[in-house]
C-alpha cells in the first residue's frame, strides 16, 4: 500500500502553505475582529487556480482531483479555517454543475468558476429543513419557460459573496429540484448576515427568494433530481471539504502545542518534559493522524470513482469533533494564556465549533455511517 504523495501533490502542498503563510496569515486577526470576508484573498485563491481543482480541463479547470483538493484545504485551514471553508463552499457550489449538469450548462458556468472570476454556493438549508431535507419549504412553480422560486434559505456559506448559487426548491410536494441562480437575478437577494463567534471572515447568512424567476434551462437534471444532487454533492464535496478545513486546524493545534511545550519552562525545564503535557500532545497527535488518514482515504476513494458517503462522513465527523477536542487540549497546555485574545488557541477553538455542524451535524454523520455499517457487516 503506497501512502506517499506524488511529486505534484508535494509541490502543491508546499506552494499552498507558502501562499497561506505569506498572504492569508497577516489578515487573520483582522478577519477575526471584523468578521468581513477578505475578497482580495478570495480573488487570489481564484488566480492561483484553487477554484478549478475539481473542474476538468475541458471546462477551464485543472481537474487534479479530490485528494489534491484536500491538501489545498488542509494547508489553508492550518492558517485560517474560515478561508478554507469559503473555498470549499465555492467547490460545493460548482459541484451540481460538474456532476449533474449538461454540456451547455458546464460551458456556461464552469470556466468562470474555475478561474475564480465567479464564486459558488449551494443553498439548501432552511429554518425548518437542514437535517430534515424534505422539510424545506422553498417552492419553484413553473411559468412558461421559467420557474418562479419563493423561499428563504439560512446558514448558507458565501450567501453574500456568491455569483452562482445552486438552490434546492420543491417543484412538487415531495419533489426537490436543483436550479442555478445567478447573482443579480431579480428576486434573489442576500438577507441577514450571521455574526458567528468563530470562523469569522467566512460569510454565513440568509438568501431570500421572492418571486425569483429563473429560466428553465437553469434546472440541473430533471424535476425531482434535487435531493439526489444535493445529498451527493454535500457528501462528496461539502463534507470532504469541511473535514479538510478541520484537519488543517488540528494540524495547527499540534504545531502550536509542540512549540509552546518546548518553549514554556516550569520547574527549570520545558513543559514538554512533563508527562501530563505529553499525554495532552499525544491526544492531539492521535486526532491529527486519524483525521488525516480518514480524509485522504475518502478523497482517494472519490478519485477512484468509488462510492464513499460513509468514509466522507467519518472523515468529517472525526476531524471536526477532533478540532474542538484538540483546541481544548491546546488551551489546557497554554494554561491561562490559552484564553487570551492575543494568543491563537482561543481562536482555534472558536473556529472549530462552527465546523462541527457544517455540511451536516455529527448525528447525521453517525446515521450515514450506521447505514453503511449495518449493511456492510450484516
Amino acid at each position: 500500500m503506497d501512502f506517499s504523495f506524488t511529486p505534484e501533490q508535494e509541490m502543491l502542498r508546499k506552494t499552498v502553505r507558502e501562499f497561506a503563510e505569506k498572504e492569508i496569515a497577516p489578515k487573520v486577526d483582522q478577519m477575526d475582529e471584523t468578521g468581513k470576508v477578505p475578497m482580495d484573498l478570495v480573488k487570489r485563491m481564484g488566480e492561483l487556480g484553487f477554484g478549478g481543482v475539481i473542474i476538468s480541463k475541458e471546462y477551464g479547470g485543472t481537474g487534479i482531483g479530490h485528494l489534491a483538493r484536500v491538501i489545498i484545504l488542509e494547508e489553508i485551514g492550518r492558517v485560517s479555517a474560515a478561508m478554507a471553508n469559503t473555498l470549499q463552499i465555492d467547490h460545493l457550489g460548482e459541484s451540481p454543475i460538474i456532476y449533474f449538469g449538461t454540456d451547455e450548462q458546464k460551458k456556461k458556468w464552469l470556466p468562470s468558476l474555475a478561474s475564480g472570476k465567479k464564486i459558488g454556493a449551494l443553498a439548501l438549508t432552511e429554518p425548518v429543513g437542514g437535517s430534515d431535507v424534505l422539510g424545506i419549504q422553498a417552492v419553484a412553480k413553473k411559468e412558461g419557460d421559467a420557474y418562479v422560486i419563493n423561499g428563504r434559505k439560512c446558514w448558507i456559506t458565501n450567501s453574500h459573496i456568491s455569483d452562482v448559487c445552486g438552490v434546492i426548491a420543491k417543484t412538487d410536494e415531495k419533489e426537490l429540484t436543483c436550479f442555478i441562480v445567478e447573482k443579480g437575478t431579480h428576486g434573489f437577494t442576500p438577507g441577514r448576515e450571521e455574526d458567528k463567534f468563530g470562523l469569522r471572515g467566512c460569510n454565513t447568512g440568509e438568501i431570500v427568494l421572492e418571486n425569483c424567476k429563473v429560466p428553465a434551462e437553469n434546472m440541473i437534471g430533471k424535476p425531482g433530481d434535487g435531493l439526489r444532487i444535493a445529498l451527493s454533492c454535500i457528501s462528496n464535496v461539502g463534507r470532504s471539504g469541511v473535514g479538510a478545513a478541520a484537519l488543517g486546524l488540528v494540524c495547527r493545534c499540534l504545531e502550536e502545542a509542540v512549540k509552546y511545550a518546548n518553549q514554556r519552562t516550569l520547574y527549570g525545564k520545558p513543559i514538554a518534559n512533563l508527562q501530563a503535557i505529553q499525554w495532552l500532545i499525544t491526544d492531539i497527535y492521535m486526532d491529527y493522524e486519524i483525521s488525516r488518514l480518514t480524509a485522504y482515504y475518502a478523497a482517494w476513494l472519490r478519485d477512484q470513482g468509488a462510492r464513499c458517503d460513509a468514509e466522507n462522513s467519518l472523515a468529517k465527523f472525526w476531524a471536526t469533533r477532533g478540532a474542538v477536542r484538540c483546541a481544548e487540549r491546546l488551551i489546557d497546555i497554554f494554561g491561562a494564556y490559552g484564553v487570551l485574545k492575543g494568543y491563537v488557541p482561543q481562536r482555534l477553538l472558536r473556529d472549530a465549533w462552527p465546523l462541527v455542524s457544517a455540511a451536516g451535524t455529527s448525528e447525521i454523520m453517525r446515521l450515514v455511517m450506521a447505514g453503511s455499517a449495518l449493511k456492510k457487516f450484516a
Binding site: P7, M11, L48, G49, T62, A68
Partner: protein, 248 residues
C-alpha cells in the same frame, strides 16, 4: 521543525531530512527574469547545481521556459564559490548566447556573495551586485539601482551582463496549480561534467582554493550580575549600574 546540526569532527553540516529549497534570493532573481520576459519577450532558463530535481521543477512551475540541473559527483561536495562559479559558467556557455544572467546576491547558508562576480569574470561580461531595481535604457543597456549602506547608486551596464539581486527587487510569484502540473510535463535537462566540457581539476573540492578549516557555533552567554541587599539599596545600585553601562 527541521534542524541542521554541525558534525564537530568532520566540520560539515548534518542535513538529516531537512528539505532542499531554492535559495530565497535566487527566487527573486528568477522572478525578475520572468517579469522581463513577460514584458519584453525572450526565454528564461533556470540553472541549478545540486541533486534535487524538485528545485528545477519549482522554477518551471513559477514559469521558467526551461530548466537545467547540473548533477555530477565531481561538482561537490566541498565546492567553494570559485568552483561553483566555474561550473555554472561552463553550463551557461553550453546554453549559448544570453543577454542577462540573474542571480541572488548571496545564499542564506554561505552568504559569501562571491559567486555572481566570479561567474561574470568567467563569462567575460560586466556585473552589478546588490541590484534592487532594473530598467532598460535601450535594448542593450540596463539601468540598475544598486543598494549601498545608506541609500543606493545608479549604475548603467551594457548587455550581456550578470546581475545579482536583493530581495527588494520584487515579490516572487507563487506558482499556480496549472503551473505545478505543467512543470511535471516539461523536461528537466540533467547535465554532468562531461556534458558541459568542464575540466575535472577545476571542479568540486579539487577545484576549490579555499577550504573550511573550522566551523564554530558561537556560544552566546549573557553577562549576569546579582545585586543583593535591601530593596532601596539595590534600587539605587541598579540605577547606578545602568548609568555606568550607558543604558539610561
Amino acid at each position: 521543525m527541521h534542524k541542521v546540526t554541525l558534525d564537530p569532527v568532520t566540520k560539515t553540516l548534518r542535513r538529516g531530512d531537512v528539505p532542499t529549497v531554492i535559495n530565497p534570493l535566487d527566487k527573486h532573481a528568477l522572478e525578475e527574469g520572468l517579469r522581463i520576459r513577460d514584458e519584453y519577450g525572450g526565454k528564461v532558463t533556470a540553472v541549478n547545481m545540486g541533486r534535487e530535481e524538485t528545485i528545477c521543477r519549482e522554477a518551471l512551475a513559477m514559469g521558467a521556459d526551461e530548466a537545467i540541473q547540473l548533477c555530477d559527483k565531481a561538482f561537490g561536495p566541498g565546492a567553494d564559490t570559485l568552483a561553483t562559479a566555474y561550473t555554472l559558467s561552463k553550463a551557461i556557455k553550453k546554453i549559448g548566447n544570453f543577454d542577462l544572467v540573474l542571480c541572488g546576491n548571496e545564499t542564506v547558508d554561505g552568504s559569501t556573495a562571491q559567486v555572481p562576480p566570479q561567474l561574470a569574470v568567467f563569462l567575460g561580461v560586466p556585473h552589478v551586485t546588490r541590484a534592487r531595481k532594473l530598467g532598460f535604457i535601450t535594448e542593450r543597456k540596463l539601468r540598475v539601482e544598486r543598494s549601498i549602506e545608506y541609500g543606493y547608486m545608479i549604475v548603467e551596464t551594457s548587455l550581456p551582463a550578470v546581475i545579482a539581486v536583493t530581495k527588494e527587487i520584487n515579490t516572487p510569484r507563487i506558482p499556480t496549480v496549472e503551473g505545478i502540473l505543467e512543470s511535471y510535463q516539461k523536461e528537466v535537462k540533467a547535465w554532468c561534467a562531461e556534458d558541459i566540457e568542464a575540466e575535472e581539476e577545476r571542479l568540486g573540492s579539487t577545484g576549490s582554493p579555499t577550504t573550511i578549516v573550522d566551523f564554530l557555533i558561537p556560544e552566546i552567554k549573557r553577562r549576569g550580575e546579582i545585586l543583593k541587599g535591601p530593596a532601596d539599596e539595590v534600587s539605587r545600585l541598579l540605577v547606578q549600574r545602568l548609568h555606568e553601562l550607558g543604558v539610561i
